[in-house]
């Protein structure tokens, strides 16, 4: 029969690999436990949009408009008015000490200006030493303040006209109006966690055989490079599928991430992504000579993936060369797909190009791995 591929031989390799996986309890536990741990840890810990930040209020009047404004700011969740400053100097001091992240000043003539239809002003001073801290709080401000004013005046149309210009902080935060960063982070985490475990596990697939001396025997027996590759890669595809289910379930249960798009489209994309990852890991293992080298190569790849894929920093904020570099990382394309499908409800046509990229990666990695595979011990 065919000497290049036989299901019986592939079966032999698969069964062997699954038994080894089962015996290696620690690794197996790691493959399922670590993703969950990372998801919970990062999901809860990483927050680019911190809330309930300490703020000081400088208000000399206690008219209804001022009160309405303060309560409106408070209900955004960003401001926690735990300091009331009597003067601008006192507020300044609080901020310089780092006691507050914001100082909100509502001038004494605020109410009068609102009534007169003049441009009312409020001053928000933000501690911008960490820009990420303030951005969310500032960006919601315009909307909230306007709405508060409208409600307080009860004269919606006129007020809308008069209030324009001053409090106009136009922010368009589509898909995630509340700015919950977990919506952004958790789907991204799925990609990162998959990348980490899948690539690392498969990157030692061949080097482990070489280091344990079993490679010589495996090569001396009739198994083709394609069979060996599939025998190594498919079991981890199954592990990846289990991870996906775990992480998606946790995303739903722990973080209440909305699943707007098609589940089958998402799962298809995840499957292709995982396939690309395990093949990448396998390619690494055809290059590395030792398990140590394989792990180093994995991390070599891992760091830029985290930094430049749009997981950690906004993709569009990067310089052009970095964006180009990001394009050659499977994670970049996967993040676009999963965010589009999960959060925006994108359909296939919208993500077809990105899925196409993942398919290209699969073909590329498989090709390189097969070419690189050493059939002999030379």
């Amino acid at each position: 029969m065919n000497s290049l591929f036989s299901f019986a031989r592939l079966g032999a390799l698969l069964i062997k690999e699954f038994i080894q996986m089962r015996r290696d309890r620690i690794t197996f536990a790691m493959m399922l436990g670590v993703p969950l741990m990372q998801l919970v840890l990062f999901g809860y810990a990483i927050n680019n949009d911190p809330k309930s930040l300490p703020a000081a209020l400088v208000a000399t009047s206690s008219d209804p408009y001022t009160r309405a404004m303060v309560s409106a700011l408070q209900t955004t969740g960003y401001y926690r008015f735990d300091h009331v400053a009597r003067s601008a100097e006192e507020a300044e001091f609080l901020m310089s000490r780092g006691d507050v992240a914001f100082v909100v000043t509502i001038p004494a003539d605020f109410a009068r200006r609102v009534e007169r239809g003049d441009s009312p002003q409020i001053l928000i001073e933000a501690d911008a030493t960490d820009p990420a801290v303030a951005s969310g709080a500032i960006s919601t401000l315009g909307t909230v303040a306007n709405q508060a004013l409208l409600r307080a005046r009860g004269m919606q149309e006129a007020a809308a006209e008069s209030a324009k210009g001053q409090l106009e902080v136009v922010v368009h935060r589509r898909y995630n109006p509340e700015g919950i960063s977990q919506y952004n982070i958790v789907p991204g985490l799925l990609g990162v966690i998959l990348q980490m475990t899948m690539v690392m596990m498969t990157s030692i697939a061949l080097t482990r055989e070489t280091e344990r001396g079993t490679m010589e025997n495996l090569l001396a027996m009739p198994s083709s490079p394609l069979e060996i590759m599939m025998g190594k890669v498919l079991p981890y595809l199954v592990v990846g599928a289990v991870q996906v289910v775990v992480v998606l379930a946790a995303a739903k249960l722990l973080f209440a991430i909305p699943f707007t798009g098609s589940m089958s489209l998402l799962l298809t994309a995840v499957l292709i992504f995982v396939l690309a990852l395990v093949l990448l890991g396998y390619t690494i293992s055809t290059i590395a000579r030792t398990q140590m080298q394989a792990l180093q190569l994995t991390f070599f790849f891992f760091l830029p993936s985290i930094m430049l894929s749009g997981f950690m920093f906004p993709y569009r904020g990067m310089p052009n060369w970095a964006q180009l570099f990001g394009e050659i990382l499977p994670l970049t394309h996967f993040l676009r797909i999963i965010r589009a499908v999960m959060l925006k409800g994108a359909e296939l046509p919208a993500v077809a190009t990105e899925i196409g990229w993942l398919v290209v990666f699969v073909a590329l990695f498989a090709g390189v791995a097969l070419v690189r595979f050493r059939r002999t011990l030379d």
Partner: protein, 306 residues
Amino acid sequence: MNAIDVHGLVKRFGDKTVVDHVTMTVAEGEIVGFLGPNGSGKTTTIRIMCGLLTPDEGEGTVLGFDIRTDSLSIKREVGYMTQKFSFYEDLTIGENLEFVARLYRLKPVEDHVARTLEELGLTTRRNQLAGTLSGGWKQRLALAACIMHKPKLLLLDEPTAGVDPKARREFWDEIHRLASGGLTVLVSTHYMDEAERCHRISYISYGKMLATGTVDEVVKNAGLTTFVLQGPRLDQVAEALQGRPGVDQVAPFGATLHVVGSDRKALEKALSDIEKKHKGVTVAPGETSLEDVFIQFMSGSKDNMA
């Protein structure tokens, strides 16, 4: 047709020629011992024969298949037992055998595994992890695995290193039983007693084939003369003989001293005054052993791994 028929094999690693124009033929059903010091190129030669390494020069056939172009066919018909245990230590004996049976597409798997376990007396240890086996049992498992698909040729690379004498004896009985069934065996070894259990031996050193033939032929062709000295205080005699022209080896064997030289006349001259100088010591011509021949070979060539 010869089971192994290779000519002028050369294999270099960097600037080291590990196998240097090795030519070898092994007839079907023969047990050939492959001898030589560490680093002499035995393992490399065997790996070339089973398709694990491509030779830089030379060609040949194994079981009629070209070693350069048809290594997959060779792999199907050859059983190769590696020097280091190379089955999966985290799989049980049974699982390892099942793995091998499936790779060779033996059907039904269970029958082949059960038969192999039975034949080698491993049935009771079927569910034991291979990694927990002792050296002797590991070797039995490795042998079991590489004869399961009924190969026509067995290539064994130092199969009995680190195995106790009883297990070694049983191993060789097994090899002879298999050979009588028509199996051809090429086995590399360091042990002289094992060499003497082979139909023929080949001696390789520094990548070069130095001698080949039956044990008697190799000993005879080496052209060594051996004298056996007996008597009191042989240690003093040994000291006196060291370095004398004509004396190549002085080695105590139990209560006797073997003195070996390649030049019979020079050796006789060197020994001529021993009986006079050392009272009670007798000098008599003796049989040159295979070990004497090998030690002579070894001292005549440098270690390749140095």
